[in-house]
């Protein structure tokens, strides 16, 4: 009721980046996904144990052969424009999502037809069983299958939707949006939460705030000061160096994320020297994740990072420590051995073009450490500094390094993408079709496909161990450790989710 809304508090929150676009399918940027969690709802969703639950659905049934799924929508779901949520909206939304998301593409490959017998029912007719269907439709935070009105969902997935009409707990106040500065979300009074308590992205998602105001403060020193001065309530990302200071402030609380972010080193497998897996293995052998993580996080905040990280996100069901010993560290002996390996592999002193995004610390720091390491290995490193915008374009270029291409770059993989092989892009080894770097490894691809087809969790886990061992062989990329984002809130805020920033269930006491 509006009267009650007036009494609800307002949250002033500094998000890690500026909300750039309004279409979570069109753009895979993390900030857009955060926005999507507020504005949109999904058919399924994960709970805090990472198991899939019904969200917009009241029921989901699969046929005995696993080739038919019948999904029933809950009653009374409405979009922000007041229209009811119908099954055709869902079907169109899923098709649009399915044309972009990797897991969605897998699902679409398996799907024959999505029928909508009535406005509440959605029937998936599959060519082959697809046990991961609920997981796919319930993806959280990375390219989620958000449900939007059919008229919007029919827009080509490579064209941006500039309206924000979902059925989530908060409405996007587009008239108050100042890109680069403020994005305002208002409580959607027509939202129908599930009964029961909220758990991660599912359960009773109850909006306890009248407004969520995202502020963009591009300068870290300023956003920290704003938090200290009490001008904002929450700060999504606290620079590691500030952790001791903010932790000591009695008016603040630090919230550690439970989902790791993994910085990675990525090779361009199309051109020498990194077209040669032996050289990639040589580099793998001298990686010391601790060194990379200290450079990024400092020595004082050990609880916020960890080394010994394999292919899958630490703590996630598929994570394992198979073969981690291949990363032996950069002791002089190891360096010497690796040098020899590189020589034996036929390195002829080709230039290594290393892309260094100076305005993006999470990639800049590892780049600096890596450049240092490659020099020690006697490689001919050419560090090319650029802004993130240039890097994003540059890394998409399949040209030779000398003419606009590259050899090595750094990025982070985060959220639930790397919980399993499904959304794990860096793992893919499908050549020029794949993600930037374009490694080819039939073995990895085969193992990945097997994972999709695996009947149960135990088999999947076993396959993931094999996958990880294969990664140490083919080295499409190297994980450099994992860190846990720390956010800070003023005291008095509770219900802060630790998987990713979510704003339902958050309240002030």
């Amino acid at each position: 009721a509006p009267a009650a809304t007036g009494k609800l508090p307002v949250l002033h929150y500094v998000a890690e980046a500026d909300l750039a676009g309004l279409d979570p399918i069109w753009s895979t940027a993390y900030i857009t996904q955060m926005y999507a969690e507020l504005v949109y709802d999904t058919l399924f969703a994960y709970d805090e144990h990472y198991t899939v639950q019904l969200q917009m659905l009241s029921d989901a049934k699969t046929s005995a052969d696993g080739k038919t799924w019948t999904l029933t929508l809950r009653q009374g779901l409405t979009f922000h424009d007041g229209q009811p949520v119908r099954s055709i909206d869902c079907a169109a939304s899923i098709r649009r999502w399915g044309s972009r998301d990797t897991l969605g593409q897998e699902l679409m490959k398996a799907t024959d037809d999505i029928a909508t017998p009535d406005s509440q029912t959605l029937v998936f007719k599959l060519r082959k069983p697809f046990p991961l269907l609920p997981s796919a439709l319930g993806k959280v935070a990375s390219s989620m299958a958000c449900i939007m009105p059919e008229r919007l969902a029919k827009i080509d997935s490579h064209t941006q939707i500039t309206e924000a009409i979902g059925s989530g707990p908060y409405k996007f106040a587009k008239d108050k949006w100042v890109s680069g500065s403020t994005a305002v979300f208002e409580r959607f009074d027509g939202y129908q939460p599930r009964p029961g308590a909220g758990s991660f992205a599912t359960g009773g998602k109850v909006a306890q705030l009248s407004q969520v105001i995202w502020k963009t403060i591009p300068d870290a020193a300023t956003s920290t000061a704003a938090l200290q001065a009490g001008e904002i309530d929450g700060l999504q990302t606290v620079s590691s160096d500030f952790l001791p200071v903010l932790a000591a402030d009695p008016s603040l609380q630090i919230v550690k994320s439970t989902v790791a972010t993994i910085p990675i080193m990525r090779f361009n497998a199309l051109y020498p020297p990194f077209d040669n897996p032996a050289i990639r293995r040589a580099i793998l052998s001298v990686i010391d994740q601790t060194e990379f993580m200290t450079a990024l996080m400092g020595t004082d905040n050990k609880s916020y990072w960890q080394s010994g990280v394999g292919v899958f996100s630490p703590g996630s069901p598929m994570a394992n420590d198979a073969g981690l010993g291949v990363m032996k560290g950069a002791s002089p002996a190891n360096i010497a051995a690796a040098k020899q390996m590189i020589k034996d592999a036929g390195y002829k002193g080709e230039k290594v073009v290393l892309l260094d995004p100076a305005d993006y610390p999470a990639s800049h720091m590892p780049a600096m450490v890596a450049a240092d390491l490659l020099k020690k290995l006697g490689m001919n490193v050419d560090v090319q500094t650029m802004d993130w915008g240039t890097l994003m374009q540059r890394r998409a270029s399949q040209n030779p390094p000398a003419s606009g291409g590259w050899n090595m770059h750094f990025t982070t993989i985060s959220g639930m993408n790397n919980f399993d092989p499904a959304g794990h892009l860096a793992l893919r080894a499908n050549g020029k079709q794949g993600w930037f770097g374009w490694p080819t490894s039939e073995k990895i691809e085969t193992l990945r496909q097997a994972w999709f087809d695996a009947p149960d969790q135990a088999t999947r886990k076993k396959l993931c161990v094999e996958l990880q061992m294969q990664v140490w062989q083919d080295v499409p990329y190297i994980p450099l450790g994992a860190y846990y984002n720390a956010s800070a809130f003023r005291r008095g805020w509770t219900g802060i989710s630790t998987q990713m920033p979510l704003f339902y269930n958050l309240r002030r006491t």
């Binding site: 300068d219 870290a220 020193a221 920290t224 000061a225 620079s239 160096d241 500030f242 200071v245 060194e291 990379f292 200290t294 450079a295 400092g298 020595t299 260094d356 100076a358 305005d359 800049h364 720091m365 600096m368 450490v369 450049a371 240092d372 560090v383 090319q384 500094t385 650029m386 802004d387 915008g389 240039t390």
Partner: protein, 286 residues
């Protein structure tokens, strides 16, 4: 050298110091900075590019005189090497923009029909914010000192052109230019023999101003991530990288900022003093 001569020279030197204390102080500071730039490798205590993550963001100590930065590099050594970058940027921009600007300005002021065209183009360049141009240029080539110098130079040239043109326009009306015309001097001769020397005083002041401004601009560019490559130690880079921590690690900003201020201070003193010292009319005291 005989001792008398020595005494004479010293006294002449002290005389100069007394007459132009600002030139003297500014000059000495500048000399000191140039020496630091040249001898940075010997004065430094560490390799300025050697990263050491384990030692990151240390406060000043006996081992790291100015502390360490986010990658554990020695700030003292980086600041010393930074002198090179800042002075190179400052001097290159000052020399390039005053030289190019003076030539264009003299031509614009003297050749009537070119004036309009040149000034419109200059207005165009002038109306572009430096930083914007720099980012665009840096995007075009990649980050390097050359790009930074070029970007700042392009924006500073119109300022010099305007100044010189203004001086030339007023000089052109002066009787001594007409006297040269009467003597049969060609336009070129009039430009380089009569007009140009009379713009020198204004150019020196403007040049030293630009020197200071460009050192500052380099720092600002680093601040928004469009400066010299972060590997290269420059005062701007050190400050830009350490700025988020300035509350808890003030040394990351304090030391380079102090060097920067002293440089600009000395450049200004030098410029103001030189203008007076080089003007034949100002030396009327003797």
């Amino acid at each position: 050298m005989r001792p008398e001569d020595q005494v004479l020279m010293t006294s002449a030197f002290f005389h100069f110091l007394r007459r132009y204390p600002t030139v003297a102080v500014g000059g000495l500071l500048m000399l000191l900075l140039v020496l630091i730039a040249i001898f940075a490798p010997w004065l430094g205590t560490h390799d300025p590019t050697q990263i050491a993550p384990l030692y990151r963001t240390r406060s000043p100590s006996a081992q790291f005189w100015f502390g360490t930065d986010l990658l554990g590099r020695d700030v003292y050594s980086r600041v010393l090497y930074g002198t090179r970058v800042s002075l190179t940027v400052g001097f290159s921009v000052a020399v390039l923009s005053t030289a190019i600007g003076a030539v264009i300005g003299v031509i614009a002021g003297f050749v009537r029909w070119l004036d309009v065209v040149i000034m419109r183009i200059m207005d165009g360049f002038m109306s572009m914010p430096t930083i914007l141009l720099a980012i665009a240029l840096i995007a075009l080539w990649h980050e390097s000192m050359r790009t930074v110098i070029l970007a700042i130079t392009i924006v500073e040239i119109p300022r010099v052109v305007r100044l010189v043109r203004g001086v030339v326009l007023s000089l052109r009306e002066q009787a001594f230019v007409e006297a040269a015309v009467t003597a049969g001097a060609s336009p070129w001769r009039i430009m380089y023999r009569h007009i140009f020397p009379n713009t020198v005083a204004a150019l020196i002041v403007q040049g030293t101003y630009i020197l200071g401004v460009s050192i500052l601009a380099e720092a600002s560019l680093s601040f928004i991530g469009a400066g010299v490559p972060p590997i290269t130690p420059s005062w701007g880079n050190i400050m830009a990288e350490g700025r988020a921590l300035w509350q808890i690690r003030p040394h990351l900003i304090g030391f380079p900022a102090a060097f920067l201020s002293v440089t600009i201070l000395s450049v200004n003193m030098l410029g103001d003093g030189l203008r007076d010292a080089l003007d034949p009319r100002m030396s009327k005291e003797d």
